[in-house]
Point group: D2
Chain length 183, copies 4
């Protein structure tokens, strides 16, 4: 089986870290990338708390947890670094969070497009070689996620089921997430 | 026993309604006023869902549920009507929400000061005569709140335990809410 | 409007109390009667915790909370007073619980039949005059229940919407309860 | 590092299976053994639902989930196979459950003693060679458990942190479990 190399992150700023994070710099570690929006209920109630649990459960030199603020709607409300900083503070989110680079004309930002993410929350797992081993829009169980992270930690070489486990896109946010509107 | 008349709301705008809401206009109904901030975790996870349940449980001509966005910190992140509008949309909040009027120099806005609220969330219950019968910072149980609303509905004249059930203020937001910093 | 007088309880034993409880002896108080079975998941996860919250929220001289163990299936597993006593101990249930009197040949026990209960959990609210003001099979919200109890507390004389709010019976236990099988 | 071989199960009966299960017969698979009691609140609310999720998440030819009913108190209430059968039916538990063999004079039954379990719930993880790799009294997170199961699945040979992660025993059941009383 062949896995795709993840495209590099395209961001305008980072919070909770002194320097910009690149996927390149995380080679050798398993990466849990959580794409979210501040105003996405499924992100706030499920995915960000889960990402915090991942960061508390696995050693940081083995598993890197990073957030990506992928604003694709309500730009005026969610678009400022100040708003995101306040949000991270109030929700006690301590891992590095990048701001996905917007495109002229709005819609999904650059990294979101490069990964072809279907909405928020989207969870991406990268192996130690920086390859996409899972990409999922919506809500994942802790039990399965724990198993998948451990499988990648133990994965000296390759294997795995990888691939995208795509969720059908729906219109508007619901409990499981906020899909990008098609078209 | 004597209850205080609630001070009138001082707002700059309203959402989810065509015209500004005044407490004066709600006389004859029991009023459930929920003061909140978009970035207050206890508001998002507990108090706003509870206010939605109240609005679904009691007849609107008997119990009026209104929200009040009382931004006292992170003004740059929470201060715009656009941000609040997006928030209400994503969290499916349909009752009228007013924006508490800011004061020069920042800090708690005008209505929040007039009610002497200690932070967010703050729940205020007014009787049919517009008097404050309960004001509470933090989290209230559904069972007790249901009983208190019904007591006010049945309260032709007076009685009740009323008064504020104040929560000790802490520094920074926690699960029960975001207190105003003293001083 | 006319409300039915509740039939008297028919029990073989009581736990958490020195003497048998009768509805007659509770006149003057609002009564919250929770019919349950030890092996009913909806009773264990929802209705008994709710009954505990009711007992903690309202003054006992105004609102009497009582349980009724209405075994209509798995008699061999749930039928002993010893099993029920251990259950009440482990789940920290402190209010009086009666054991509904079985009938020869099995099936729903005597009080359950007299009230025409559809399964467990069933919640019954009696007013201060011992009349049935609500009887509901399944799960009730705290907010609504709090309001209903308070309405009965304030109800000097009559009024109320009363009546049964019946839940459609299904086959076998689910999250909302265990229905009596028809026939 | 050296891991202890698990002692064989000592049971009087099995439910949800046609034939008695032995640890010997499960060699080659990772084993998740959940020791519980029907009247242990932490077992009912947390550990048994978690065991069901494990059984649904991992392939049964790789991970065997078994329950063990380790009655060490309230024998009269929990001790019958009929009661356990009814319990498993109502809680929709489909994996094999053994009844731990009682000892004369009561107290913890034979398998519970052989494993030196501190109370219920106790979670035991065995590797493909039947060695104890984790034994924990109380509540484990899904994320960590998922990772540990996967680590054992991938563990061709040995390694692991193994060992018991013991919980301090307390008197009486609480949310995290029912400890065996010392002495």
């Amino acid at each position: 089986m062949k896995f795709s190399q993840a495209p590099e992150l395209q961001t305008t700023a980072w919070l909770n870290t002194d320097q910009a994070v690149t996927l390149q710099s995380l080679r050798g570690r398993v990466v849990v990338l959580e794409a979210f929006q501040m105003l996405c209920p499924g992100c706030v109630s499920h995915s960000l708390p889960q990402a915090k649990r991942v960061a508390e459960t696995f050693p940081p030199d083995q598993v890197a947890v990073i957030g990506l603020h992928t604003v694709f709607e309500h730009h005026e409300a969610q678009g400022s670094a100040a708003a995101l900083k306040a949000f991270l503070h109030e929700y006690r989110i301590g891992f590095p969070v990048g701001i996905d680079a917007p495109v002229d004309g709005g819609g999904p930002p650059r990294t979101m497009r490069a990964f072809n993410m279907q909405g928020t929350p989207t969870l991406v797992l990268l192996d130690r070689q920086g390859r996409i081993r899972k990409q999922m829009f919506g809500r994942e169980d802790d039990l399965r996620l724990g198993a998948e992270i451990m499988a990648l930690l133990n994965d000296a070489a390759h294997a795995g089921n990888g691939g995208a486990d795509e969720h059908p896109a729906t219109d508007g946010c619901d409990d499981s997430g906020c899909p990008v509107k098609p078209g």
